[in-house]
């Protein structure tokens, strides 16, 4: 381990992101907006995007590195690099989607962008923390900006309600988490994850207290990744939050939970519990509850919220495989889901900007009002449903394959049945978009959102047709966990 100063060189990406957030606020102070002109703040979002891209460049040298910094508090490896790219991408796409949406509900635009950037910082750090109490602090770094972002539309009572619900959720899940941490720390006398793993591997007798501690830890993460039965907060929060924030947390905050959970799970596996069954049941429950819930929804944000619960279930299928290939499939799925879901939310934002509605009914005739947006909507939803030539198919295929390899045939069967159910409600939206007649007046699509959607759709198709590079990257990142 090098000196502290040398250790900081591995943190350049995080430092750049932290500075970017500050820079946005300072720039806003120096060049204030002309009164009442929210649109003129677009360049602040672009500044944020530039900062995140710079951070992504700075992450490149971390690929293939395995470094433990500050006595095990921070772990820099290919897995953290993989997640950093993912979170930076999600942050940048969210900023692009926000440019025209944010001025509609607030005057404090620069602060919104800065919070998104800092929240991204929290996500990145979560993917590379290697110690329980750092995890606790880093979680607050993501949760607090998110609570503010969810309640950002001050004049909309639903937004406030959603923020309060999320606050309560954070309190409960944090309490569960910290209780679990204290039990683990009390049993083993260490809070560093790698040392926990080492002690678990050598001790023959695992006490009840420790097992409870580990389960509580995982419960805390289950809230974050919106897995059933810890999902009750999701629909209301997703519906109430401003749409760009919903888009952001539907992928960012969910994968931060996964990034964190994966590190702990790999070490926790050494405890002789039936982890296949624990994650398998959670996966089956999430898929089923999410998909059945989504069928009944008439509001697209609520539908995507339930679909997100189901998608967390598919991701957990990969986790339940408990293998390097399983983790790799989760990583690939995360990228595929992020691209498709952000594209879908791009459509939701575009429609809401123009019509003010998030009801599925208001999508009637969208394909005629804005053909490319309609196409993006169809591709995004079909990818979420797992149809071929789109990233979603490869992702589901890879997840199911790795689960079947681990002998979880029953889980694959449940996943397959769920895929059919999910297409039912995705098709319902596509039916509105393409088949039902609606308004015919053409719909305004702003450039930054169009750019974000195009990038997502290009990614969905590229990953669907040529998944090889991404699969290799995912396998490489996953292998960092199974050294």
């Amino acid at each position: 381990m090098g000196s502290t100063a040398a250790a900081f060189t591995y943190l350049w990406p995080e430092i750049i992101v932290a500075l970017t957030g500050g820079l946005i606020l300072i720039a806003d102070l120096i060049w204030p907006a002309p009164a009442g002109d929210g649109r003129s703040r677009a360049w602040l979002a672009y500044l944020g995007v530039a900062g995140l891209l710079a951070a992504a460049m700075a992450t490149v040298p971390d690929i293939g590195v395995t470094k433990t910094l500050f006595g095990g508090i921070i772990v820099v490896d290919s897995l953290s690099a993989f997640f950093s790219f993912l979170f930076l991408g999600i942050g940048a796409l969210t900023l692009l989607l926000s440019v025209h949406a944010v001025p509609k509900f607030t005057r404090w635009i620069a602060e919104f962008y800065a919070l998104v950037v800092w929240c991204t910082l929290g996500h990145m750090l979560l993917a590379s923390t290697g110690e329980l109490f750092t995890i606790f602090i880093t979680l607050q770094l993501t949760s607090l900006p998110l609570i503010v972002l969810i309640g950002y539309a001050k004049l909309d009572p639903k937004s406030g309600e959603a923020a309060l619900k999320y606050l309560l959720l954070v309190l409960v899940s944090t309490a569960v988490l910290i209780y679990g941490m204290s039990l683990v720390y009390g049993s083993l006398g260490t809070s560093t994850i790698s040392e926990i793993g080492a002690k678990l591997a050598t001790s023959h007798d695992i006490g009840t207290v420790l097992a409870i501690g580990l389960v509580l830890l995982l419960t805390g993460f289950a809230f974050k990744i919106t897995a059933a039965p810890f999902h009750y907060w999701v629909p209301d929060t997703y519906e109430g939050a401003p749409t760009p924030v919903t888009a952001f947390m539907s992928v960012g905050s969910k994968f931060a939970g996964f990034a964190l959970a994966l590190r702990i799970i790999v070490e926790g596996l050494k405890v002789p519990l039936n982890w296949h069954l624990i994650f398998g049941v959670m996966a089956a429950l999430s898929m089923t509850v999410g998909n059945l819930g989504a069928i009944r929804q008439t509001n697209i944000k609520r539908m995507l919220a339930y679909s997100g619960i189901a998608q967390a279930g598919y991701l957990l299928v990969g986790v339940a495989a408990l293998s390097s290939a399983g983790v790799a499939s989760v990583l690939f799925y995360a990228v595929a889901y992020a691209l498709a879901n952000l594209a879908a939310f791009g459509v939701v934002i575009t429609v809401a900007n123009a019509t003010g509605s998030t009801e599925i009914k208001s999508y009637a005739g969208l394909a005629k009002r804005a053909p490319l947006v309609g196409l993006a909507c169809a591709i995004a939803l079909l990818s979420l449903g797992g149809l071929p030539l789109m990233a979603g198919f490869m992702a589901k295929f890879y997840v199911f394959l790795s689960a079947a390899r681990s002998g979880l045939v029953w889980l694959v069967a449940i996943g397959v049945v769920n895929s059919v159910i999910s297409l039912y409600y995705y098709l319902r939206v596509i039916y509105e978009v393409y088949v039902r007649e609606g308004e015919t007046e053409s719909l305004f699509v702003d450039r930054p959102a169009a750019l974000a959607m195009s990038l997502c759709i290009a990614g969905v198709l590229a990953l669907g047709v040529f998944p090889d590079y991404a699969l290799r990257a995912a396998n490489f990142a996953a292998s960092a966990l199974f050294r």
Binding site: L387, L389, Y398, F400, V416, L427, V435, P467
Partner: protein, 491 residues
Amino acid sequence: MVTQQMLLAATIVLPLVGGVALSFIPKARASLARPCALVLSGIVLAIAAWLWASFDGSLAGIHYELKVPWIAGLGTSFHIGVDGLSLPLLFLTALLTFVAVIASRSIKDRERQYFTLMLMLEAGLCGVFVALDLILFYLFWEVVLIPMYFLISIWGGPRRSYAAVKFFLYTLAGSLAMLGGIIALYLATGAKTFDMLEVALLASHLTAGIQTAIFAAIAVGLAVKVPIFPLHTWLPDAHVEAPTAVSVLLAGVLLKMGGYGFLRLGPEMLPKGFSAAAPVIAVLAVISIVYGAALALVQTDLKRLVAYSSVSHMGYVMLGIAAGTAASVTGATVQMFSHGLIAGLLFLLVGAVYERAHTREISAFGGIAKIAPVLAGTLVFASFASLGLPGMSGFVGEFMVLAGSLQRFTGLTVVAAAAVILTVSYLLWMLRRVTFGPLNQARLGMADMTASEALSMAPLCVLIVVVGVFPETLVGVMHASVNAIASVLGH
């Protein structure tokens, strides 16, 4: 030969790329979409015809094989090629798409999208028939669903939304079962490859129990598509609600994906599983034959009648495949080709009749031979072809299936042969009520066949007779492939 490999790949790439390009035609020139689609599908048809002409049916194995690395991490590659079983179906796809484009003259609403989807459908169908990699096969299999869903749900009849979703979810559920089977096959061989030829070498050594379980999962997906009783209920709805040209492709080509899948994934890959399942398939096939025909007998809607007749006719295909003798498999493949032509023709005729009368109720017609002799004559021709009149393609297929199956499933074959009486009944009864008898006054002034309709139907009529009179043109290409299957199964 490099050129022919490239041409084979072009049957997928050309409609796909060309189809996407079509959607970029400016709105003001939207009427250009159909001519462009016609040219594209014409080129594909020419390619398929050329591949057929240069095909040597006496050589066993895969012809025009092309293998390009694709997803190395999964052990899957872009591996295509044709043999005697897939080549006729590839040609059928190209022909019927070309015919369907001609028959889509009345499509005026969103025509660019319509033809884009139709060409994407063609690409998917060609892909299914030439794929030699399990993942590639599954990919194309599923890709077919997407344009089909849109074609039915946007341009279909009054209950199109219900029909399209039912079609989509039924087939999707089936194909996911198939995907499960494919994954199981991949894991069971342990060779980390999805290449059909390599998997076939390894999988045929698996135990009978494993083979049967895997084949059962795959067969569910295939059976939905065929469709075999009791998985057929999506078919009448989808066929009735789809626009004419789409019904042609649905009945003409999509159903053959199932039959072809049984031949491609069954005997040579999982011989023990296939043999174990064969009696079950044969029983269900005969039920489909009788049940489909019986239901066709009581239909009052012309299009529904043709739809149920498809269920019945595909039953013969499945009986022939299940019997697994050289004659029966040849018969099944001929029957698939022939049914593609005949069902395509019948759906074109029903579409033509509907366009004039705006109804498909059989009781709303009568005596149309008096005012539209060519149209009525073609309907009579198509019906006779369908009921298996010697000299037409339907006879060759059904006769070979029955003759080939007799030694394997004697009782069932006798029932299947007897069911021909039902087929004759519903077709002749339909003809009597629609074309002959006193002229229904509501049909007064019904126009006869137009030139464009004649153009779309003529190639089908010609081929029905050619295959009927010179069956060797079709049977010749499949000798080697069929013998390979029969020898694996030991019949």
